[in-house]
Amino acid sequence: MGKSSKDKRDIYYRRAKEQGWRARSAFKLLQLNEEFQLFKDIKRVVDLCAAPGSWSQVLSRELFENQNHSDAKIVAVDLQPMTPIEGVTTIQADITHPKTLQTILDIFGGEPADFVCSDGAPDVTGLHDLDEYIQAQLILSALQLTTCILKPGGSFVAKIFRGRDIDLLYSQLSYLFERVICAKPRSSRGTSLEAFIVCMGYKPRPGWNPKLELNKSTEEFFEDSNIGKSYNLEHFELPDPEERKIAKFIACGDLQDGDSDATYTLDNDSKIGALDPVQMPTAPPYKKALEMKRRGDLVRR
């Protein structure tokens, strides 16, 4: 797909370029906020898996420009380097590492976070069960940091794929938050399994002291949390049934905002023409293979 056909195929893709967002996903957070007022009274925010940074851009504009919280603190964490964003502290780090947690806490002056979000997703392989598992691991990684840093009553938002075991996650989250909602912003394509888990009203598990430690897997981290996860049984019997729940579904974003599945006609008079993307894609792992192919170094036989 060329630049202009993507513009027509996706109204949000074009609008993101026009408004200077690094990615169209900015609209997803904006629409989630419209529905759930996530940004109300927040000053300390953690954006996990933040690259290229469109959610941090949204948070920065919202907290500093719209709400004028000059003392607000936004920390964006990613393994990938990120172009700096006004008012946002970017950390290139692993979200499962205790040091990362400490760095964020230091920036917050020891105060807990009001809001933690994650728009992270792994590169999919195409094996649905594996991809859903890895995504679930990413959410649990974000969640373990969240349980260490989020204030009671705070909110957590993360990208999910609504695949076969999503009801397990809904059930586990419902132990940790007052409200757990599966939200689908209009800007998220209907053809994609993507949705967002919006968890509000964090209620720390009584008697559980979450602690990030090196060499603790996510499963081990939540071992004593009693959130209804099934654990190894004595003789490794298959846990059946497992605790599963269906979270309430809420579509968000104004219907007039536009439909990410619809094809729009570009205004022919528009002088803008096809816009260049705001943030060029980062170097993929297969960059060297591409270069070799271009040079003709990949001998077919």
Partner: protein
């Protein structure tokens, strides 16, 4: 939602109500063990036996895991099998698997994803989980955990393996998501190496059984080979076009150290490490091993079976030969002249050759007029004795044909004189007969063709002067030898460019069909008694393309009607029906995307085999099974080549021979495939290689108790298959005419099918049956509304109208169009159009009630909208506007994804809708005759009818419907008393569950579910 402990009430209900019949989907693991192949086909474990006579047999096929797919299979030295996948694992005795007896499999689980397992000894199992931790389990004492072992590095893993060098030295190779490969030792719990040469995730890492090497593959499309002791990178292998999923070692290292790889690009490759070279040498490349994308699993046995096996996202399991039975021999002209003891002139080249298979003889003619015999068994050459007068006739020109069953070779000179050579062996000189030609005069022969039909042998001569007739000579073979019987003269088509390329004679009707360049066919009735047989009919340019390369009659059972397999070089093949007035009708047309097709035939299993050139190689391709049989580098499309199919009854161990001239040298490629007679090495049938977007089943029950079924995939292909009453699906045609991702496919009736896609593609297909087997062609296509179409046609529906159909199409830009499709002339006429809003329309249905016509649409905003289009319909008026919106009701919070309308009587309909919001709704449409109005009422609303998007609804029987959703649960809902109630819910291994259709066989409903694979249920 409250925070109470709870269980999803619609994830598992009366599971025994559903019977899984057949499953076609990703093959996630493969293991060769002795003469058996164990395969994880989703959650089904299959065991195939490789028999001695190049045959294969399924000995076991059962669903052994409840939900999880089998990602790993390991076998202990005493025959214990551990299968694992997701969080599950199970132990099975190999002896039970091949015993033909019933036995139960107990599924067990740990609380994390299992990467792989290995037997420490017969009593102890090691499980590597996705956090780089080993579970050591006592499998004799009721699966007691002995220990949990890690190396203090719990990175999340994509891949890994356990290498038992001996019972005291166990090495774990862990492929992490982002931290390279971690190699550690179990007993000491210490990390030996962290190999970080790859970019991105590691999808495979293994250690050879001697503990000398480590191999790994990744996101970065490279293979890395390390020295185990030092951890030093020895070499990298580059070549895969996308991610690499699998690596295996060759066991036999006597000819160097070799590796097999397979990946996302559907290629398998064999690599060799040459010491002190930092690049792995690619020895073999097998392309297009599977359809679509991904070889998910592979294994190798280079010692005993000499096979590789591959499993794809397409559900196929294929065997690939490692014994190298394909052999290429090359002979220079110099060698030929020395061996035959003749001296070639400067620039003398080979002009033509034929092979007499039963004698093992190759006969070659050169531009110098030499005829050389080559005994392929003894490797002897000799020159055929010709007088100088004879030799001169072939100076610079000689075309050869042969009749293999009688060992007769015919050579034509430039002016059409024919030398007949009757061979008995290499050593006995052939009987020579000359047949003069008094018709051609000074004209030159351009084509010389031969065919044997029944007991008659035909030779055909073509010259470019259209005033000179074609010459067809008929021969008989009897005790006196090869005898000329008759010479027929045929009127040439009076046009300048009728260059013949192939011919076919139909014995039953005594017709001759001649094919030519510019995709033209000439038909002659040989029953004519005229001196110059007139041209019965000429069909010019019957399809796009340059030249017909091959024609063959595949059916002439009905008098005066034949079916001709016609192949066009540009990648098109057709079935053409010729009727008694010599008119033609293309009843099947398809294209392949693999270069040029030079010919093809239908094999003994009724499968279509095609061959031709693709870039610099020659291929033989099974179109029915969609697999390549062989492929030989030949320098690209050659002018002079021949492919010979060896019959089963011939004693040679050859399936095909491909002869070609490259750089003026003679090349002979002999190919003996394996399992050719059995299944061409395709031991498990599959389906599309990408997600299936829609499925439709024919309303007609065929006489063999099957129904036609069509599937549409996101990779732009359509499949036409047969659905049998046991739920199995037998693929017949794979159609490549769409160029963009499919949206919907639907049978209008038993003959016509519609399919819609992005880029405004909407095709109507026509099916005809030949001996209970379908053929299909694109019957008509809708012209896009502009040159640069970018809207998707999301759905369509039809109702019968006059001599055709009213067809409503719904678009991603919110447009609705209604067409009249005239079945007789295959033309579309736009009747009326309208625009719903700016929302993408997802589905459209049509209803006719008395004389009223209604359209129902469901859209991404969650509304059901109904238009009365009765006033907008008429064939004679200009295009009208759809404006009469009579019902607009918000049913779902987000996209209305699925709709099914069930007629209760002429005026009442039940409407079922499912949404992105997990909700299922039963509504009722009632038509009031007195005021001619339509009313919609919601009868039942289930908010949490699924834990994820509902994607399709189909009618199961009078009282129940089947609903699919992306949570991979299929549910049966009963709707009597105008209330929805979930009767049954069970898990399906088909991920991305997106479509379903239901039919009946002998009153038994069978449902077909599509997504990342296909499954059938009753």
């Amino acid at each position: 939602m409250t925070s109470e402990v709870g269980f999803n009430p619609v994830s598992s209900i009366n599971e025994e109500e559903f019977h899984a019949l057949k499953h076609y989907g990703p093959v996630t693991s493969l293991k060769i063990h002795e003469n058996y192949i164990l395969a994880g086909n989703g959650s089904i474990l299959k065991v195939f036996k490789i028999e001695k006579n190049e045959k294969t047999r399924v000995v076991y096929s059962e669903r052994v895991l409840k939900r999880n797919k089998i990602h790993s299979i390991v076998i202990s030295s005493e025959g214990k099998v551990c299968i694992s996948g997701g969080r599950s694992f199970a132990m099975i005795n190999f002896a039970d698997l091949i015993s033909n007896k019933q036995f139960a499999v107990i599924e067990r689980a740990i609380n994390e994803w299992i990467i792989t397992t290995e037997f420490l000894n017969e009593n102890t199992l090691l499980i590597l989980n996705s956090h780089n931790t080993i579970y050591k389990i006592d499998i004799i004492n009721n699966f007691k955990l002995i220990d949990k072992i890690h190396c203090n590095e719990k990175s999340i893993l994509y891949s890994g393996s356990i290498r038992k060098i001996n019972e005291n030295k166990i090495i774990i190779a862990a492929g992490t998501v982002m931290n390279g490969c971690i190699i550690w030792e179990l007993n000491s719990r210490t990390m030996l190496h962290n190999l970080t040469d790859h970019e991105g995730s590691i999808f495979g890492v293994k250690i050879d059984n001697k503990g000398q090497y480590i191999i790994s593959c990744s996101d970065d499309r490279s293979i890395k080979l390390y020295d185990f002791q030092s951890g030093n990178l020895l070499a990298s292998g580059w070549g895969h076009g996308s991610r690499i999923w699998n690596l295996e070692f060759f066991q036999d290292t006597s000819n160097g150290f070799k590796i097999m790889s397979a990946g996302e690009d559907c290629t398998m490759r064999i690599w060799q490490y040459l010491p002190n070279q930092d690049i792995l040498q690619q020895l073999q490349l097998w392309e297009d091993c599977h359809r679509g994308k991904h070889i998910w699993s592979a294994d190798i046995d280079d010692i005993n079976l000499k096979l590789c096996v591959s499993g794809g996202a397409d559900g196929k399991i294929r065997l690939h030969d490692l014994s190298n039975r394909g052999k290429l021999n090359n002979y220079t002209l110099n060698y030929l002249s020395q061996q035959a003891n003749i001296s070639f002139k400067k620039n003398e080249i080979i002009k033509s050759f034929v092979e007499l298979q039963s004698l093992g003889l190759l006969i070659i003619i050169t531009s110098g007029g030499h005829i050389i015999l080559f005994d392929q068994e003894s490797h002897q050459f000799k020159s055929l004795e010709l007088s100088s007068d004879e030799s001169n006739k072939f100076e610079g020109f000689g075309l050869m044909q042969s009749f293999n069953d009688i060992n007769v070779v015919a050579v034509s000179s430039i002016h059409g004189e024919i030398l007949i050579l009757e061979f008995t062996s290499f050593n006995i000189p052939p009987k020579k007969t000359w047949i003069n030609n008094d018709i051609l005069g000074k004209n030159k022969v351009t084509n010389f063709m031969a065919q044997c039909i029944g007991d008659t042998y035909y030779l055909f001569i073509d010259c470019p002067n259209s005033k000179i007739p074609f010459i067809l000579k008929t021969f008989k073979y009897n005790s006196q030898g090869f005898q000329l019987e008759n010479t027929l003269l045929l009127e040439q088509p009076q046009q300048t460019s009728f260059t013949t390329t192939d011919m076919s004679i139909d014995l039953k009707n005594n017709w001759l069909i001649v094919a030519s360049r510019y995709v033209s066919l000439a038909i002659y009735d040989l029953n004519s008694t005229e001196r110059l047989i007139p041209l019965s009919k000429l069909h010019k340019k019957i399809s796009a393309g340059d030249s017909i390369t091959s024609i063959s009659i595949i059916e002439s059972s009905i008098p005066q009607e034949i079916i001709l397999l016609t192949i066009v070089r540009d990648g098109i093949y057709m079935y053409i029906r010729i009727n008694e007035t010599f008119d033609i009708n293309i009843i099947h047309k398809n294209n392949i995307s693999r270069g040029f097709i030079e010919g093809g035939y239908i094999d003994n299993n009724n499968e279509l085999i095609l061959y031709g050139f693709k870039s610099s190689s020659f291929y033989i391709w099974n179109e029915t099974k969609q697999i390549e049989l062989t492929n030989v580098l030949c320098g690209g499309a050659n002018r002079l080549w021949k492919v010979i199919k060896y019959n089963e009854d011939q004693h040679q161990m050859i399936d095909y021979k491909f002869l070609f001239i490259n750089k003026s040298e003679l090349n002979i490629f002999t190919f003996q495939g394996r399992f050719i007679k059995d299944n061409y090495g395709l031991i498990n049938e599959g389906t599309h290689g990408r997600e299936i977007r829609d499925v439709t089943i024919s309303p007609e029950l065929l006489s063999d108790n099957s129904r036609l079924i069509m599937t549409a995939s996101e990779d732009t292909t359509l499949n036409l298959s047969k659905l049998l009453c046991d739920g199995s699906i037998k693929n017949i045609w794979n159609l490549n005419r769409h160029v963009s991702g499919l949206q919907k496919i639907k049978f209008f009736n038993n003959k016509y099918i519609g399919s819609s896609a992005a880029n405004e593609e909407f095709f109507i297909w026509k099916i005809e049956m030949i001996n209970n087997n379908p053929v299909i062609r694109e019957y008509s296509r809708l012209q896009p509304s502009n040159d640069n179409p970018d809207v998707r046609i999301m759905d369509f529906d039809s109702i019968p109208y006059y001599n055709g159909l009213l067809i409503a199409t719904a678009y991603s830009n919110s447009d609705i169009k209604v067409w009249y499709f005239d079945i007789n002339n295959a033309k579309f006429q736009l009747i009326c159009q309208g625009t719903y809003s700016t929302f993408c329309i997802l589905n459209i249905t049509m209803l006719q009630i008395d004389n009223h016509y209604f359209i129902q649409i469901g859209s991404t905003d969650g509304y059901l909208t109904i238009y009365d289009i009765s006033q907008s319909i008429g064939l004679s008026s200009p295009v009208r506007t759809i404006s009469q919106m009579i019902i607009k009701q918000k049913l779902h919070q987000n996209a209305l994804k699925a709709i099914y309308i069930k007629p209760i009587n002429s005026y009442t309909f039940k409407v079922f809708t499912g949404g992105d919001d997990n909700a299922l709704i039963l509504g009722e449409l009632v038509y009031n005759q007195s005021n001619e109005s339509l009313q919609f009422n919601i009868l039942s609303f289930i908010e949490d009818a699924a834990s994820s998007t509902i994607t399709s609804i189909s009618n199961y029987d009078d009282n129940t419907i089947i609903v699919t959703s992306v949570d991979q649960i299929i549910r049966k809902w009963i709707h009597t008393n105008n209330e929805l109630q979930c009767l049954a819910a069970t898990y399906t291994t088909v991920a991305d569950t997106g479509c379903c259709d239901t039919t009946t066989f002998n009153d038994q409903s069978i449902t077909v579910i599509g997504g990342a694979g296909l499954s059938t249920w009753k």
